[in-house]
Amino acid sequence: MSNEKFQDIISLLKEQLLAGEHVSVKGLGSFKPVHQTQRFQTDEKGRSVAHPPEDTIEFITDETGGDS
């Protein structure tokens, strides 16, 4: 079965995620935009390294079958 058939759903999902929306699909799970702030670490030479922030998407499996 081709994914093209579900292109409208996928486009809608993508659109919502890019808008920063948390999308929960019953029976599948939740897609959640996550922002990781800038963080600082000390490298092996003892210097402070600033890592840039990052926006990403996390997926949480719908283990309960519920819908948030």
Binding site: N3, K5, K26
Partner: protein, 444 residues
Amino acid sequence: MNSNDLIALLVQKLSIDEEQAEGMVSEWIQHLGAELSTNGQADIPGIGSLILEGSKLHFELDPGFAMEVNYKYLGMKPIVISDDINIGLKEPEVEDAIDDEVEEDSVLAPSDTVEMDEVLPSEEVIADEGASDDEEVAETEDVSEGTESEELTVTEEAEEIQEEEVQADEDFEPEGEEDEEPDEAEPEQSEEPEQSEESEEETEELDEATKARIARRTAELRSTRKEKKSNNIPLWVGLGVILIAAIVAGWQFYLQPVMQNPASLVGSSEELNTVIPGVDSLQSADQPVSQPISEDNQQVDQQEEALSHNLASEVQESPAPAAEEAVVSSNKKDSVVSAPLNATSPNNIPPGQPKYGLTGVVNSQANDGYTLVLFSLSNRQSAMEKYQLYRDQGYRSLVSPVTSERYGLMWRVSIGQFATVNEALSAVEELPTELAKDYFITKI
């Protein structure tokens, strides 16, 4: 957004009834479940893949979509900061390399030079001693043979030409010479054993192991000499200078039209309205927008500071006409450009304003520090609106064009000018929550 919201949106977007939309979603979930059970993986094109790992479902974000989601921080790389902040990542490595070279030289040069001076003369003496015996014998033989054959030829010719010279032939009769030469050679041969005895006495003093060690060490020193000769550090330094000059020249070439026409930095809204065009590869392949601090970067920063000083007043005086925005299409293809456009010359800064700070008027002399970036936008108009918004709120508001190979011109809106990262972090505490939760610190 939950499933009901998604279905409602589908209904609205596709103009279908709710049951159809529910059916679509349900069918999609079944499709994904079937792929997972069959292949252990279900693709959601353009978003990512669900991968079954044991009993757990793992989501792997599509690299292109990951870049779309992370567009604000695209191309940013980790930067190394130190206690005094302005020391970059590569400086210690360069120093280490230099130290290593110095250490190598210091290890090799003094002792080897001494040893070389000590060893080479003795080696030459040995070579001379070895060669003197053999060469002298060989020379003697050559001379005697050559004299004999030449004299025979002269004698035959003399006999054929003139009888008077026969006497001369007799004087130079080969037999006589053959008899005499051995006599002359004999003393030489008799001297050779004496010399060889002397050399044997000398060589007895140097045992075989010492000679071997000297020869080996000499060979090593010679090879070291060759390596030293092939040291191309001046050549590389020269090439480096040429490269830096080329970079600076290119940089000025790029910025020249910008200086003449600052509004040309402003991208065409029509061209740049698409937030992320053609995303298809990993972030790591991008041109880094924020690079580790190095001496070169510091030089560039100084240039930027000088340029931004010139740009500031011009930009503020002349809003970007639409016709001038077309120039950006050629500029945005270049590599990295970062020049804060809104710095104010020191003469226009209110008296008593500190050089660095979160609020006040942007000071061009403080562009050697750090700033809090709040937005990176592809739309220049949006960036200028943000810039104006924070400026009206009293912040030192900066907008800087940054160019990446992949996404062209982006506009980075930031607030504050800080001498150190720690000062910037302290200033974050003064920010409203909506700003403090989403920022990053970078060098101006």
